[in-house]
Symmetry: C2
Subunit: 162 residues, 2 copies
C-alpha cells in the first residue's frame, strides 16, 4: 500500500502542478479570450446586418477607418457607414482574429485578423474581397470590451476592386 502511494505521489504532484499552471494560464489569457469573444460576437451581428448591435459594439467616440472613405467617428457616423455596407446587394462578410494582445493593465488591447466579403455590384456581378484588419478594444466601466478603433484594407490589387 505504501509502495503504491509512493508510486502514485509523483503523478498526483504532476496533476496538481499542471492544474495550477492551467489555471494560471487561464487567468492570464482571460482578457485576450474576452476580446476574442467580443471580436467574434461583433462579426456575427455584423454578418447578420444587425445595425443596432453592430454600432453598440463601438465605444463612444470610436472611429471606424474604412478604405476609400473618410474616417467615421462617433456612433451616428459609424451607423451611417455600416448602413452603407449593409445596403450592398447580397453582402456576405466574415472575419477571424489571428492574434489578440492585451496590456498588462487589462484595459486596452487589440485584435488583428483576416476578413472575406462578397457582394453584387451595380451590374449584378459578384465582387469578392479579402483582406486584414486591426481593431483596438477598450474595457468599459461595466467590464465589457468596446471598439475604440477599427481599420481594414484589401489584400487584392487596387485594379481588381474597381
Amino acid at each position: 500500500m505504501r509502495n503504491n502511494l509512493v508510486s502514485v505521489l509523483p503523478v498526483l504532484l504532476i496533476l496538481t502542478i499542471s492544474g495550477a499552471l492551467s489555471s494560471a494560464q487561464k487567468m492570464r489569457s482571460g482578457p485576450e479570450d474576452a476580446i476574442r469573444a467580443a471580436d467574434q460576437h461583433w462579426a456575427r451581428v455584423f454578418a447578420a446586418k444587425d445595425l443596432e448591435n453592430s454600432v453598440a459594439f463601438c465605444a463612444e467616440n470610436a472611429s471606424v477607418l474604412a478604405p476609400n472613405a473618410p474616417i467615421a467617428t462617433g456612433k451616428q457616423a459609424i451607423g451611417q457607414l455600416f448602413s452603407g455596407f449593409f445596403a450592398l446587394p447580397s453582402l456576405t462578410i466574415e472575419w477571424h482574429p489571428t492574434k489578440v494582445e492585451v496590456a498588462r493593465s487589462g484595459e486596452l488591447g487589440y485584435s488583428t485578423g483576416v476578413y472575406q466579403m462578397s457582394f453584387k455590384d451595380s451590374s449584378g456581378k459578384l465582387v469578392t474581397d479579402r483582406g486584414k484588419y486591426v481593431t483596438v478594444w477598450k474595457k468599459q466601466a461595466d467590464g465589457s470590451w468596446r471598439v475604440a478603433l477599427d481599420i481594414f484594407n484589401s489584400d487584392l490589387p487596387a485594379t481588381a476592386a474597381s
Copy 2:
C-alpha cells in the same frame, strides 16, 4: 511685511499646486509623448527613404498591413515592402498622429492619424493619395517604443487610385 506674506501665500500655494498638477500631467502623458515622438521620428526616416532605420522602428515579428498587398510579417518581409515603396518614382510621404493612447501599464499603446503621399506612375503622371493609419506600439526592454502593427488605407474612392 507679515501682511504682505499673508497676501502672497495663496498665490504661492496656487503656483505650487498648479506646478504639481502640471508635473503629474507630464508624468501621465509621458508615454503618449514618447509614442508621438517615435511616430514622427519614424515618419522622418521613412520620408527620407532610409530603409535601415525605417525597418529598425519595427519590433521583431511586427506586421505591416499595407492596402492591396498581403500582410508583411518580420523585418525581412517589411524591408521588401518598404523597398517597394521607396522605389516609387518621386515619392513624397508624410504622416501625423491625431491621437495617441497608452495603456495604464505603460507597455502597449497606439497612434492614429492621417497621411499624404504622392508619386509618379509608370506613365509619369503624378498620383496623389491621402488616408489614415493605426500603429500599435510596444515598449521594448531597452525602453524604446517599436511598431508591433501598422495598417493604413486611402480616403479616396477606389476608382481614383486605379
